[in-house]
C-alpha cells in the first residue's frame, strides 16, 4: 500500500460568446448634471467582474476618471437588451457595446465643451482627470462637471450614447461545412500534480500550474482571482460534486451541503498562473476574458494525472475513491505509469 504521485496535462481552446442570432449586447451611457456617467446594462455581474471592467472601459473611452463612472446592471426591464451573462462573453460583447456607447457620449461631451469654450470640438482633448482643454493649450479648459451642467441647464443637450455589438452571421460553406462560429478564442494549458492513495482511493491535488492567454488582462488582479476561483471549481467538479446517488439508488443522493461535497478552505490548492497577454483585434482594448475556461481544463488534467499515478482510467465524473479503488482492483493493483524522462 502506497501513495503514488501523478502528473496530468490538458489544453483548451475556448470560444468567446456564441453565434446564435448574432449574440448581441447593448449598452446605454448618460451623464448626470454633475458630470458623472452612468452605464446601463441588462447583463448582471455574478462575481465575474463586468461591473469593474465595464467601468474601466467606459472611463477610458470617455476620457474621465474611473471614479466618475457607475455601472448599473439592475434590471432587464429597464435596461437595453442583452443576451446575458454566459458563454464567457461579458467582457467581449458587453465591453464592445460599452465602448461604442461611450464613444457617442464622448462626442456629445466634446461638442458641449466646445460650445462653452467657443472652439471647435475636434480641437479638444480630455485629460482623464475631469478636464477638457484645447489641444496644446491646457489653460483653455472647462471641467467635465461644468460641461455637463451647462449641457443640461443652458444648452438643452444630452450627453448620452447608445452602443450595440453584434457578431456578423457566419455563412456555412455548402461543400465543406466550414464556418466561423466565433470571432475570438482564448487558450490555456494546465498541469496538475496530485497523489493517489492506493489503499483508500483518495486523490489529493497538490499543485496547479497554468498558463492562460486571455487577450489583454484588462484588470490583472480580477483575471488572476477569477482563474484561481475557477480552478477550485474545476477540482470540485473533478473529485467531489455530483447530484447522482452513490449507494444504492437515487433516493440516497445529496439533499444539502452536508452531502453535496465540495473542497473546503483546508483543501485550497496552490495555483501558479502565468497570464499571457496577446490583445485580440476585435476585443475591447484587446481583452477576451477567461469565463468558463478557468474551470474546464482542470477536469481532464486531473483524470490524466490519476491515470499517470495508478493506471486507472476514469471515464465518468467525479473521480471518487470508490471508482479509483474499483479501477485498481480491476487492474490487479496500482500501475504507476511513470514520467517520460524521469
Amino acid at each position: 500500500m502506497a501513495i503514488h504521485h501523478g502528473r496530468g496535462f490538458a489544453c483548451i481552446n475556448y470560444p468567446i460568446g456564441m453565434n446564435l442570432g448574432g449574440d448581441p449586447s447593448q449598452a446605454l451611457v448618460h451623464s448626470t448634471p454633475d458630470g458623472k456617467f452612468k452605464v446601463t446594462l441588462s447583463s448582471i455581474d455574478l462575481g465575474q467582474g463586468i461591473k469593474s471592467v465595464g467601468r474601466q472601459l467606459a472611463a477610458e473611452t470617455l476620457g474621465v476618471p474611473v471614479e466618475d463612472v457607475f455601472v448599473d446592471t439592475a434590471d432587464s426591464d429597464t435596461g437595453p437588451h442583452d443576451m446575458g451573462s454566459f458563454a464567457s462573453r461579458g467582457t467581449h460583447r458587453m465591453g464592445n457595446a460599452i465602448i461604442r456607447a461611450a464613444t457617442e457620449a464622448r462626442a456629445q461631451l466634446l461638442e458641449a465643451a466646445a460650445e462653452e469654450l467657443e472652439v471647435d470640438a475636434p480641437d479638444l482633448v480630455t485629460d482623464g482627470r475631469g478636464n477638457i482643454h484645447v489641444k496644446g493649450a491646457p489653460s483653455r479648459s472647462v471641467t467635465v462637471e461644468a460641461t455637463a451642467t451647462a449641457a443640461q441647464f443652458n444648452q438643452g443637450r444630452t450627453l448620452a450614447g447608445r452602443g450595440i455589438f453584434l457578431v456578423p452571421l457566419s455563412e456555412v460553406d455548402s461543400d465543406t461545412g466550414e464556418m466561423t462560429p466565433v470571432s475570438s478564442f482564448a487558450h490555456a494549458a494546465l498541469i496538475i500534480d496530485l497523489t493517489v492513495d492506493d489503499e483508500t482511493g483518495e486523490v489529493e491535488v497538490q499543485h496547479i500550474n497554468s498558463a492562460y492567454e486571455v487577450g489583454r488582462a484588462l484588470n490583472p488582479r480580477l483575471v488572476e482571482q477569477q482563474l484561481i476561483g475557477g480552478a477550485w471549481m474545476g477540482v470540485s467538479h473533478a473529485l467531489y460534486e455530483t447530484t447522482e446517488p452513490y449507494y444504492p439508488d437515487r433516493s440516497h443522493g445529496p439533499i444539502d451541503f452536508n452531502h453535496y461535497l465540495q473542497p473546503g478552505p483546508g483543501d485550497a490548492v496552490p495555483h501558479h498562473i502565468s497570464v499571457l497577454e496577446r490583445p485580440a483585434p476585435d476585443a475591447p482594448f484587446g481583452g477576451k476574458g477567461p469565463g468558463e475556461m478557468c474551470a474546464n481544463p482542470v477536469l481532464p488534467a486531473i483524470a490524466n494525472a490519476v491515470f499517470n499515478a495508478v493506471g486507472v482510467e476514469c471515464d465518468s465524473l467525479p473521480i471518487t475513491p470508490e471508482k479509483v479503488l474499483r479501477g485498481i482492483r480491476a487492474n490487479g493493483g496500482a500501475r504507476p505509469q511513470g514520467r517520460p524522462g524521469a
Binding site: 482571482q225 476561483g229 477550485w232 444539502d256 451541503f257 478552505p265 485550497a268 490548492v269
Partner: protein
C-alpha cells in the same frame, strides 16, 4: 403569537416583536432591517448568515430569535465605524477576497470571532475558523490570505 424581544444590535438597543419560533436571521433582516446577514441554505450548513452572539459565531438561521433577549448581536452591518472600514473589510477589498460577495458577510463575522479571541492565528487556525462557511467563487485562498493580512495589520497598529 408575538412577543417582545430586546437585545443589543451592533452596540445599539433594539426592540422587536417576533413570532414564536421565528429565527434570528429572519428577525434581523425583516424586523430590524439589517440585510447584511445573508440567507443561503436555511439549514445551518453554508454559513452565509453567520452573526456573533456575545462574541461567538452562530448561524443565525438556526437561532431562535427569542433566545437573544438581553444579549449582544453583531453583524457585518456594524463592522465599519462611520467611514472607517474594519481591518478585515479593508483586507478583503485589498486582497480581492470577494467575487459574487454572497458568502462575504458570513466570512467576515467568522473571521472577526477568530481575531477577537486569537489576534495572530496560524493559517490552519484560519482554515478551521471559516470551515463552516462555504464559498463558491474564490477558491478560499484569497479569503484566508485576507484574514491573515488583517491580523498582521491589527498587530502592527
Amino acid at each position: 403569537m408575538k412577543s417582545p424581544v430586546t437585545f443589543t444590535l451592533n452596540g445599539s438597543e433594539s426592540a422587536v416583536f417576533v413570532d414564536s419560533g421565528a429565527n434570528l436571521l429572519d428577525v434581523l433582516r425583516r424586523g430590524c432591517g439589517d440585510l447584511s446577514p445573508k440567507y443561503g441554505c436555511g439549514q445551518g450548513s453554508c454559513g452565509a448568515c453567520t452573526v456573533l452572539i456575545d462574541g461567538e459565531p452562530h448561524v443565525s438561521c438556526l437561532v431562535l430569535a427569542e433566545t437573544v433577549a438581553g444579549r449582544s448581536v453583531e453583524t457585518t452591518g456594524g463592522l465599519a465605524s462611520g467611514p472607517d472600514l474594519h481591518p478585515l473589510q479593508r483586507a478583503f477589498i485589498d486582497g480581492f477576497a470577494a467575487q459574487c460577495g454572497y458568502c462575504t458577510p458570513g466570512m467576515l463575522m467568522a473571521a472577526k470571532a477568530l481575531l477577537d479571541r486569537n489576534p495572530s492565528p496560524t493559517r490552519s487556525e484560519v482554515e478551521e475558523a471559516i470551515s463552516g462557511n462555504l464559498c463558491r467563487c474564490t477558491g478560499y485562498e484569497p479569503i484566508i490570505d485576507a484574514i491573515l493580512e488583517a491580523a498582521k495589520q491589527r498587530g502592527a497598529a
